[in-house]
Amino acid sequence: MKRTADAVIIGGGISGLSIAVHLAQKGVRNIVILEKRFPGSGATGRCGAGIRMQWGVELNCLLSKFSVDYFEHINDILKNDVDVEFWQGGYLIGAKTKEEAAQFKANVSLQNRLGIDSVYLSAKEAGDMMPHLDTSKIKAATFCGRDGHLNPFRTVQAFARAAADLGIDIEKYTTVTDIFSESGRVTGVRTDKGDILAPVVVNAAGGWAKAVADLAGVELPVYSRRHQILVTEPVEPLQSAMFMGFAWNIYIQQVPHGPFIMGRGDTSEPTDLRMTSSWQFLEQMSQTVMTLMPSLSRLKVIRQWAGLYNMTADAQPIYAETPELQGFYLACGFSGHGFMLAPATGQLMSQLILGETPDIDISSLHIDRFKGETPLPQESSVV
């Protein structure tokens, strides 16, 4: 393992990979990614891998729009041919109540203003689009055809391949045990395989971001909670769009090779690092699906699993250099959207680290926002 590096990225998930690749593309030569298992083994490889531009707050719209543009050209950008299976079948988002429908209408005008061509649909129009959806359960819906989902494993492979081509060193099965600093500056990390000295250390540890920050003595206002997913047997194509319903706490998609994938979290669950599965999830998720899509009743569930959401109070990420430790950067608190934001994360974090002006103004995503004066608008559109 290298003894020195220009930048050390802690976490080999999609965020860490994207940051490393963007830094390397901007000319940083000596980058090490430290991953305690293997790339994508954390939340990235466990997530639904959906991407949508339909948000209720402007910044999320801009970040995800950046990412959609990126994913549409990912092979050109990364200079490889890994098929990430970007399926742009759109997101159909259902509103349960009149109030929610009104909010959605406002969201669509915000989105349209920002160049996102989402549309507001009646329940009937939504039903035409997704015949197995029981439209009597929804008041209205919104749809954006450029939204969709990717294969998270393939996406990791595309970034990992690019990282290898760019000479980035990915250290698998390597655990960070300490973070060094000297007079307010980060100086390197200790791992179970040796020390690496580096002037830049990025915390992209996803669910474990708080534990990593603790090593640096930095207090991070995030917490983790498991979200669970189930996958069914593969069946013939039935559902092109991702369906999402905040009121029902569900997202459900059919991936290109046939299985349905559906997931949710449960805010009554404890906040810890468990990634076990529960029977309650299976039962409750099935009941929700039977409410919304009763014709899926004979679909067989073959597997369930869980991954960690790293949450912030406003459900928006933290992109920042820590005030108390120069050179120690944070890309965490994605609140369940780390996968879809990854291209933006890479671009904006690399610009932050290199002292460039970020393409999107992310000053409001600084960690300081939790200290009081200028709270961000709460993003309510979270499953």
């Binding site: 468990r274 076990t276 599965s277 529960s278 029977w279 299976l282 039962e283």
Partner: protein, 361 residues
Amino acid sequence: MNQVPLLIIGAGPAGLSAAYRAAEAGADVLLLERSGKAGGQLVKQTHKFFGSEKQFASTRGIHIADRLTSRLEQLPGRVTLLTDATVLGIYEDGVVTADISGTVQKFRPSAVIVATGAYEKTLAFPGNDLPGVYGAGAVQTLMNEYGILPGRRVLMVGAGNIGLIVSYQLMQAGVHVAAVIDAADRIGGYLVHASKIARAGVPLLMRHTVVAAGGSEEVERAVIAEIDEQWQVKPDTKRTLDVDLICVAVGLSPLADLLYQAGAVSRYIAPLGGHVPLRDASMMTTLDGVYLAGDVAGIEEASSAMVEGELAGLAAARRLGFEGGDTSGLISACLAELRQLRAGPAGGKIRTGLALAGVYA
């Protein structure tokens, strides 16, 4: 949510024996069996078993299943046996979910015994996905449970007890066994089984492997070859057998998925068949109150599976506060019986495996 004192998963020789001993000690037992009838693999065994009288030696497997099942009826009201009952999960809160004849039910047991048996290992060789390539268990199920002849001419891959026994059963059903091959340098199964099929003219070929299966829509032939000391095929030894069935009997591995999903600690111990959940002398896994018995605890014979089942049943009953009769005496007797069964040369492998697992002094 159904409260149950003791839930036993799997009604094979281990599970049935566990249910009997636990119920006899006073515990109420719910015994869940995935298939349509109790007995596990015993119901496919037409041959007579080894061992001693206590483990029903010289009784055909299918009759042992009957005896183990009917023995439970001597304990009226204590054991509830449900068939067509597939356990779906043992969850972190101790809840066990099961699909019982199409209905999902939930149980909150005070103790669990996992007696799920084993699954078959297989081999990677070209053509192994052609219809006509079967695991030995499937062949036994087709022949002995469903009465369906799986082929006319068979290549048996594996000369362990299962390969030998299934070869013999195929011969009894009128199937021509072209050869029994094994990569090892000696027959792995009991020699009396080997002699039985040798005297019918079936060649047993050690240090041989299956190179490929051929055929357009299904198996029409098999290529076998000798292997050298480095387990590599000797190129000039390839030959083609005219067979329509390739039966793979290359060993079993503990079927412990439920335990691993629940977080039980395992270790790879080759003599026990691969990854095996770690356990203590009372058959308890690293999960508190979750026991195991039979092949899921390490691949062995049905005789020891029954004794392990009894041991686990007694230990679980004791945990639940049932010391009825002479539980300690029975536990000692089980341990002595297991020691006996494993004492000889044929028990060397299991002794090594259990020593590696830290449960055989």
